[in-house]
Point group: C2
Chain length 186, copies 2
Amino acid sequence: MSIAHQRKKQPEAVRQQLLEAAASLCLEKGAGSLTLDAVAAAAGVSKGGLLHHFPNKAALLDGLLDDLMERLDAAIREAMRSDPEPHGRYTRAYLQACFVPGGMAEEGRWKAMTMALLGEPNLRRRWRRWVEEQSVLHAGTDASIDCELVRFAVDGLWLGSVLESHAMPPERARMLARRLTELSYS
Amino acid sequence: MSIAHQRKKQPEAVRQQLLEAAASLCLEKGAGSLTLDAVAAAAGVSKGGLLHHFPNKAALLDGLLDDLMERLDAAIREAMRSDPEPHGRYTRAYLQACFVPGGMAEEGRWKAMTMALLGEPNLRRRWRRWVEEQSVLHAGTDASIDCELVRFAVDGLWLGSVLESHAMPPERARMLARRLTELSYS
DNA sequence: GAAAACATACCGTCTGGACGGTTTTATTGC
DNA sequence: GCAATAAAACCGTCCAGACGGTATGTTTTC
């Protein structure tokens, strides 16, 4: 008989809140030590409510990954649309989607999911499949050594932001982005 | 009154076994869902024995990180010794220590620890301090944009090997290494 | 009034780690 | 050289709390 119990029902919003809460808790504590109680509490929902939306813990993590990949796909497609040069187009879009400040809609989610991926082997598999698909899909335009190198550097920058291990001034970040972009054309 | 109880005591060897076991279990399941029981069993020691060497779980993970950083330092120092060119020397050593096949003594350990770092916030802090120290230490020779870019790419390659997300033929890996080395001189 | 969207209560299992015992190794005294 | 004693290196058991998940209500919504 809590307040949440009597408020207006908005299942889709609650679902998003749950994903949001799970994502930030993943960031703080890692996917392995993520607990259903904590997620439910952070989202302002009872555990029963959480389990109504996601039948078990694995489903919750799966949901996170689904949401994540959709957003990533969308961000990359959007970035590719405004790029006239075919060569390295995917690589530049990848750079923009993952690194350039402001280019990624909700930065926190990404970081959190990186950790979840590292933790759960089956999520790792799904992620691997996605990466391979992309690599096949853009083999015609983004298979050069430098393009691959740039994408690895983007991954490294991403990892750094997860670990918060590299404090970089904005000016430096811009220079790096410019150099990476430059390399993507060669 | 088990067999293990009566065998010859070799505390240092047991300690290493425990670290080894913890590392590979980290790789499989992530640091968050690492259990003392599993580590002890994998190392062929009782949980009591494990807790004799490491008073609690945090101490075990700390021990892993200590061991890891020592090895990394050693590998980098070793690689730097045989490099006559000062500019980018640290970056090339980092590349060799982390990426080049065979350059890293025990590959599994590194990967496992990456995950542990992602999980535990206080380990993350210690790692961050190490990275910052290195960056200050080699600011004179390895601060160029391209050097930083190369190090990020190495991190990305590392992440890829953890996630097993990039299946790369050896020839391609060699080409990448060569290109990265080349960039480290500019 | 049926179904969806929640909440509450509860259960079985797992996990960290405290504790006391036993055996091996090192040190000391003679 | 050899007991005697201390200390280190383990083992096995037990427990309190945490956690995932079930089962059963209660309230909205359609």
